[in-house]
């Protein structure tokens, strides 16, 4: 008995000791390196129901009973990349106004109210490579929400007032696009990679907003929004059978059409490294972007390059993050991003932001890490970090039903296999260090990088030119085209009156006696290489002949025009004036001030008073003049006090293409009773392009016609 009790006691002690030893090691906090993880419960990726309506619309359905809501998203085969180059923004406006402009049976306001009273939302939009719609409703309001969605997609009314509203918003967006330095950098980098005229790089300008009319929106919608060009995914708290019927009911009556989606425009890789700069004087930190054209999601090297990118700058323990942020403290934001798109090349970028005083140091650091990675490859442990990060987080790709169904629909939209993600996972699993490093060497090109810095160069640590020849990018926003009001008898009469006053001020009857004019001038011309000073002699014979001899650092050049044609003589030889230049001269002659004063009473000239406007505090009357035979129009600013011409604005030819050229006239002096401006400054887009100063002038000396003859 006693022994037994002892036994029991011993047993208890032993048991206690055991439980103590069994508990102590597990109860102690463990260093992460000692942890063993159970196998992850297998993720059951639900299979959505997919079917096609008779009219070709593709439908995906997936029940999700976690919340009493229903959501839908649609994709439509269209995109802003298909809009006309002179109507940039048309796709975006169409996408907005489809929703806001109401339908044939309801106004936009009625729809707003129906939806928002029910805490529901329907939105439509058109992006670069697809159009789309989203619906989100509490499940009891689904029928209403679906009705609105279908009505908007099928029968948008594009009411004019909402087009106006969208245009106000577009113009405001243009006016605000240079307010934030990070937005400037991202946008302009994209334009460097794709080109400023590419469908992936062009910008909406004020003139495009004016070019877009309601009919354009109607046509854009009609062309692309077809049931056979659309897919819709619906997920939420419903039963699949009932939902099928509802979708058929909402979209079944929509007639199939002919799809006219052009192939996806492709992009080209740069051929040389460039250094680009945008000046922003109000910041103390530079934005840096470095990169080149990226790839497609189905490139054979896609998985390998994503691993390389994770190791280089994609992760919070990547090379760029460790070296530039953690070790050097140069930046808060620093990254690399191997950009990929589905059906055209994405943009590969690296970058970050750093104080002005370490700008060049940071660019050099990024280049060093990038070049080092390409030349020497990444390491085994970096690859392990990248691979495990990817594989272990793979479960998050499909952890909600919304992600599952939207991923499947998107893959089908771009013609990708439905097991794309699983194949990528496999490719990551199989990736070897050798393959990753070879892919980097094949696809990453240090020699064609576009480097962009936006910042305040007066505070830089070293001139940007230490990185290479610097190209400065001008981000001045082109002014909106001014709308000319319709002419009225009053404004036409006043226009003519004003010119009569000017005629009097410029010499009255003496102007009509002007037959020819010879001037020697000093000319200063701005060029990309800097300002060039030249001497010139100019001869003009009224009404439309002129000859100029120019002494420039490049040699002597003579140019003549006899009213119909002309020639150019230079050290390279003599050539006929190109047709385009000839046409321009023919047109522009109509706006010459003395020519105008001799001819403005003729019926060919329509002179319309526009407005009063001040230039440097001096009041001016502005007249808009159209020479009807060529429809060439221009405007003059007339000094209210003196009656003299102060400014002319007319379309002309600039290195950047046709643009408004502004000429400012000053220092008027009488020559034989006719006022001649001794100084003319020309500018375009707010930048001075030339300055002409008369040294001496004579009139009516009898210039011989042979100066216009081709030698």
């Amino acid at each position: 008995m006693k022994r037994q009790r002892l036994h029991i006691t011993l047993l208890l002690i032993v048991a206690l000791a055991f439980s103590a030893t069994a508990q102590t090691p597990t109860a102690k906090p463990q260093h992460y390196k000692n942890l063993k993880y159970p196998k992850l419960r297998e993720l059951q990726i639900p299979e959505p129901t997919r079917f096609e309506l008779a009219n070709g619309m593709i439908v995906y359905l997936l029940e999700d009973h976690t919340l009493p809501t229903i959501n839908a998203s649609a994709m439509v085969r269209t995109g802003s990349r298909y809009e006309q180059a002179d109507k940039v923004g048309l796709a975006s406006l169409t996408g907005q106004v489809m929703r806001t402009g109401g339908t044939t049976s309801k106004t936009g306001e009625e729809i707003d109210q129906m939806l928002e009273r029910a805490a529901a939302s329907v939105e439509t939009f058109i992006g670069s490579t697809s159009g789309g719609a989203r619906l989100s409703v509490l499940k009891e309001d689904f029928d209403m929400g679906l009705g609105v969605l279908a009505d908007i997609l099928k029968n948008p009314a594009f009411r004019e007032d909402k087009i106006d509203l969208a245009k106000v918003s577009s113009r405001s967006g243009i006016s605000r696009r240079n307010d934030q330095v990070d937005a400037i950098a991202g946008r302009e980098f994209n334009r460097l990679i794709y080109g400023t005229t590419s469908p992936y790089g062009r910008l909406m300008e004020y003139v495009h907003v004016e070019n877009i009319a309601r009919q354009d929106l109607i046509d854009f919608h009609r062309k692309y929004f077809l049931p056979n060009a659309m897919m819709i995914a619906v997920w939420g708290d419903f039963s699949t059978a009932a939902m099928k019927t509802k979708i058929e009911g909402a979209f079944g009556d929509w007639a199939r059409g002919t799809m006219a989606v052009p192939p996806a425009p492709q992009a080209r890789m740069a051929t040389a490294r460039t250094v680009n700069f945008i000046k922003k004087t109000d910041v103390n930190q530079s934005q840096i972007y470095i990169g080149h054209l990226g790839g497609k999601l189905n490139d054979p090297e896609s998985a390998l390059l994503n691993l390389a990118d994770k190791a280089l700058g994609g992760g919070q323990a990547s090379r760029l993050f460790s070296k530039i942020r953690s070790e050097q403290g140069l930046a808060y934001a620093v990254w690399s991003f191997w950009g990929e798109s589905y059906d055209y090349q994405g943009a590969f970028s690296m970058g970050g932001s750093t104080k002005s005083g370490t700008t060049v140091a940071m660019v050099k650091s990024i280049l060093k890490e990038f070049e080092g990675a390409v030349t020497s490859g990444i390491t085994e442990s970096e690859l392990r970090y990248a691979k495990e990060s990817f594989l272990n987080s793979f479960v998050f790709e499909f952890d909600t039903k919304a992600k599952v169904i939207n991923k499947l629909m998107t893959l089908e939209y771009y013609g990708y296999p439905k097991d794309y993600y699983q194949k990528q996972q496999q490719a990551v699993q199989n990736a070897t260090l050798k393959a990753v490093n070879e892919a980097m060497q094949k696809r990453w090109k240090p020699e064609v990088l576009s480097i962009l810095v936006v910042g305040n160069d007066s505070e830089f640590d070293a001139p940007l030119s230490s990185l290479g020849t610097v190209k400065t990018i001008d981000i001045t926003i082109p002014s909106p085209p001014e709308k000319i009001p319709d002419a009225t008898p009053e404004t036409l009469a006043k226009g003519k009156e004003l010119l009569k006053k000017t005629l009097a001020a410029m010499g009255g009857p003496q102007v009509a006696t002007l037959k020819d004019m010879v001037t020697t001038v000093k000319l200063m011309q701005s060029t990309p290489m800097g300002d060039i000073a030249m001497d010139a002699e100019m001869k003009v014979v009224m009404p439309n002949k002129f000859a100029t001899r120019l002494k420039s650092p490049m040699g002597e050049m003579t140019m003549a025009f006899d009213g119909t044609g002309g020639w150019v003589q230079s050290p390279m030889g003599t050539q006929d004036m190109p047709g385009s230049l000839r046409e321009n001269f023919q047109k522009q002659m109509a706006s010459d001030m003395h020519h105008l004063l001799q001819n403005f009473e003729k019926a060919e000239y329509q002179i319309q008073y526009l407005k009063e406007e001040a230039i440097e505090g001096k009041p001016m009357s502005v007249v808009f003049i159209r020479y009807t035979p060529t429809n060439y129009s221009f405007r003059y600013y007339i000094d209210t006090k003196s009656g003299l011409f102060t400014r002319k604005v007319a379309k002309g030819t600039t290195p950047g293409g046709p643009a408004d050229i502004e000429e400012n006239y000053s220092d008027y002096r009488p020559v034989n009773g006719v006022q001649i401006p001794y100084k003319t400054e020309a500018s375009t887009g707010g930048k001075k392009v030339s300055e002409l100063t008369i040294v001496s002038a004579t009139v009516n000396t009898g210039v011989k016609d042979d100066v216009f003859k081709k030698p």
Binding site: A27, K28, P29, Q30, H31, Y32, L35, Y37, P38, K39, L40, R41, L43, H65, T66, L67, P68, T69, G108, D112, E116, R117, A119, S136, D164, L165, V168, S169, R171, S172, S175, R176, N178, D179, Q180, V181, K280, D282, V283, Q285, Q316, A317, R325, S326, Q328, G329, L330, A331, Y332, S353, T354, Y385, E388, S389, N392, S393, V395, F396, D399, T400
Partner: protein, 495 residues
């Protein structure tokens, strides 16, 4: 057998409850509270849809808990909390420890000289060089990105943290089999953090300040607006801190801030996802019981005095115009808290809201406009802030007049029952939708627990909102939206 059928029925019933009625009622019944002896509270919500789990550590310490000279420290510490511990992020801690001590000495010698009236240039240069050397010496033992690297490598996503006036939150998600990894790392970083890479990380934070404030017109304006709107409460100082303070803050100050404030009574943890509640409780005990209890932070002593006159600040910037106007109102414990939520929705939610229909749609004065409470923090009395971004060619003044007109309507006209009902419907739907994401829910539960002392307030707030009447809106608008009680900030363009 019978048992399992009963469980099945119960599960089906629960499911129906969650779907047929409000999703959040079911959610409420599934949240489990677990408080450790040291006072650390865990909120656990098991959700089995996918094998993933999200974590939020909410610390009810923000920039309001700083004092003169150390502005920005709450946020700096948030950065430092990613730098590891005595056995994470180091190559040899005993050597690193000595190097860090030497580094601190070099820093204080340099600072002392820098702050004298006439610093000796030669001395300054040699002290700077000595500091640089000491820094290199310490850095050679550091692997400061190890903490982040482990989380990413094990499949962590959304790894981040945020600091505001009122609080600091740390959050990320993991595949659910890595549950213990979070316990190991999260408890370690708040148990024995090592403040390493300190001076480099201050440089990083200074870059963050340049990015968010000094090179950003709106960031600049916000900093000026709070500086004029508050004259004594710490809401007057931007969370990012003043540049001079960022430069001057020492490692010692950062460590003291941690010791004083990172105690269980100031912390709440929420875990939402594919977890077993008992497992979470067991791991919570194992890993977090070691953190010593500490005194809960006192509320900020300084209260903002009543405002007796309109205040204005005008910034002239290379930017299009922007206008904000903020009216002083009560904090989260104000009896009218829900009334402000209703006013915010009425004025700025969606295309039927008053500021949208008036300023944007009909008058085309602005491209967006709205109003919301809780700026720049919400715990203490704060601002109800209206804003507008004028449309091209429109001015701040015309937008101000139009906003004032809408504010007047709040005082003189009764809001219709229909509008009120729509606002309440949207609040309920908004809450339901917010339950969809594990991380979102973890953030909300821990925030409500931390701010109100009770996570159920997340759901109770709906009842309070439902009780708001048209008369409440008129009463509050009339007493709060008055000119003497407001501060106006504008950006005016220069070229």
């Amino acid at each position: 057998m019978r048992l399992s059928i009963r469980i099945l029925i119960a599960a089906t019933l629960t499911l129906q409850l969650a779907t047929a009625q409000d999703g959040f009622k079911a959610v409420q019944s599934q949240v489990v509270e677990h408080t450790l002896k040291n006072g650390l509270k865990f909120l656990i919500l098991p959700r089995r849809e996918a094998p993933v789990v999200s974590f939020t550590t909410y610390v009810s310490i923000g920039s309001v808990n700083e004092s003169r000279g150390i502005t920005g420290l709450a946020h700096i510490f948030e950065h430092l909390a990613f730098k590891g511990t005595t056995d994470i992020g180091t190559k040899d801690y005993s050597k690193e420890k000595a190097a860090l001590a030497a580094l601190d000495k070099a820093w204080s010698a340099l600072e002392q000289e820098r702050l004298t009236v006439n610093p000796d240039t030669a001395k300054l240069a040699s002290l700077t060089a000595a500091f640089g050397k000491a820094q290199e010496a310490a850095m050679q033992y550091s692997d400061g990105d190890e903490f982040s690297r482990v989380i990413e490598q094990q499949g962590g996503v959304g790894l981040n943290a945020g600091t505001s006036m009122d609080e600091t939150t740390y959050f990320y998600s993991l595949p659910s089999n890595k549950l213990e990894l979070w316990f190991s790392l999260e408890s370690a970083r708040f148990y024995d953090p090592v403040i390493r890479d300190f001076y480099k990380e201050k440089d990083v934070v200074m870059e963050e300040r340049r990015m968010r404030v000094e090179s950003n017109p709106i960031g600049k304006m916000i900093e000026e607006v709070i500086a004029v709107a508050f004259k004594s409460h710490p809401y007057k100082d931007n969370t990012i801190g003043h540049m001079a303070d960022l430069k001057g803050i020492t490692r010692q100050e950062a460590y003291e801030f941690f010791k004083k404030y990172y105690v269980p009574s100031n912390m709440t943890i929420a875990i939402v996802g594919d977890v077993d509640v008992n497992e979470v409780k067991r791991l919570a005990e194992r890993y977090f019981a070691r953190i010593p209890a500490g005194r809960k932070a006192d509320p900020v002593r300084t209260t903002e005095p009543p405002q007796n006159g309109e205040r204005r600040v005008v910034l002239r910037e290379q930017s299009q115009p922007v206008i904000v106007l903020g009216y002083k109102k009560g904090g989260i414990h104000d009896a009218d808290d829900a009334v402000y939520d209703v006013i915010s929705d009425l004025m700025s939610s969606g295309r039927t809201s008053r500021l949208y229909t008036s300023l944007v749609r009909d008058k085309k004065l602005s491209i967006s406009a709205g109003g919301f409470g809780g700026f720049p923090g919400q715990k203490y009395p704060n601002l109800f802030l209206f804003y507008a971004f004028p449309a091209q060619g429109r001015s701040n003044d015309t937008c101000l007049a139009a906003i004032e007109h809408e504010i007047e309507r709040l005082k003189t006209e009764q809001v219709s029952e229909e509008d009120l009902k729509a606002i309440k419907t949207r609040a309920r739907a908004g809450l339901i939708r917010s339950l969809g994401s594990n991380q979102g829910l973890a953030n909300q539960l821990s925030t409500y627990e931390g701010l109100y002392g009770n996570w159920r307030e997340l759901f109770n707030s709906l009842d309070k909102l439902n009780a708001v009447t048209a008369a409440d809106i008129q009463r509050v608008a009339t007493s709060v939206f008055v000119n003497n009680n407001r501060s106006i900030g504008t950006i005016e363009p220069v070229n």
